[in-house]
């Protein structure tokens, strides 16, 4: 088990479209669906962050803008967990490969 500290100097990569997945009494929007998603958290910037299946970290703003960041190197392991630390950084759990 490893962890990685996510820095804030990351480039904008993709901006996928939000689509509606299903509707009951409340409206549910499928923001992204390309594998298994294990965790989600609020970042110190107020955006929502989540590990992506393809060794990336995703970020969505309250306005619905989605960005994917490639932060990992080959062999680092897949990101599976994420949490905001008291140091103002995001910490990412990397599952063993």
């Amino acid at each position: 088990m490893k962890s990685a500290r996510l820095l804030w100097t990351l480039p904008l990569l993709t901006v996928p479209e939000i689509s509606q997945a299903q509707q009951m009494a409340n409206t549910v929007y499928n923001i992204q669906a390309s594998g298994s998603y294990w965790a989600i958290t609020t970042g110190p910037d107020g955006a929502v962050w989540f590990p992506e299946p393809s060794d990336k970290i995703g970020r969505i703003t309250t306005a619905g803008v989605i960005t994917s960041y490639s932060i990992l190197n080959a062999g680092d392991g897949g990101p599976s967990g994420i949490a905001a630390g008291p140091d103002g950084a995001l910490w990412v759990h990397l599952a063993a490969q």
């Binding site: 549910v28 929007y29 923001i31 992204q32 669906a33 998603y37 294990w38 989600i40």
Partner: protein, 192 residues
């Protein structure tokens, strides 16, 4: 994570009765090692706990948590509160029913405006295996009631904690889904 870098966790097994424990890990002084302190030992059913961290950051004297178990064996939400003698006491807030309720709460809880948000492993009817999102609210009489915000279709498997936006929208993640690829998703729910 609590104040001063203290970490809180739970085990599904272990303790004197083998039913699981809640513990804290105290950070070391410079160059030292972390030390574990046992806070609570479950008895009876095996308890699979997930700690609710958001509330604990604001209120140091109470540790909210939930697990499988409860009076119906369908899961429960409870608080752990330390006494002056250092002994922690468990108080049940809500026991999930075997019928009617969404059962087996399995995500960290999120506390907002005196409401408790979480996900459960079951939905209802055709969506029984898909999981659900629930909120517990306290009534004027002091009892807590469950409201289902969403039942997932298929085997969605909600995972991890929910994020509650200031405007009230809920974000979450699932490990799988009902589509042909079975893909999970990151979702947003706009409450009506």
């Amino acid at each position: 994570m609590g104040a001063n870098g203290v970490l809180y966790g739970a085990t599904a097994y272990g303790g004197s009765s083998g039913a699981g424990t809640v513990f804290e890990l105290l950070p070391p002084a410079a160059g030292g090692t972390w030390s574990a302190v046992l806070l609570y030992t479950f008895t009876g059913r095996r308890w699979s706990c997930t700690l609710a961290t958001s509330g604990y950051r604001k209120r140091r004297d109470s540790l909210r948590d939930y697990s499988g178990g409860g009076s119906a064996g369908a899961g429960t939400v409870f608080t752990l509160t330390p006494g002056q003698d250092g002994i922690w006491t468990k108080t049940a807030l809500y026991d999930f029913a075997k019928t009617g309720d969404r059962k087996i709460p399995d995500s960290p809880l999120v506390l907002r405006s005196n409401a408790i948000y979480g996900t459960a492993a079951t939905g209802t009817g055709a969506h029984n295996a898909g999981g659900s999102i629930f909120v517990l609210r306290k009534t004027a009489g002091g009892a807590w009631t469950e409201t289902v915000l969403h039942d997932f279709a298929g085997a969605a498997g909600p995972s991890g904690s929910l994020v509650i936006e200031k405007g009230g929208a809920i974000y979450g993640a699932t490990t799988s889904g009902p589509g042909p690829t079975g893909s999970g998703m990151v979702y947003k729910i706009a409450l009506q």
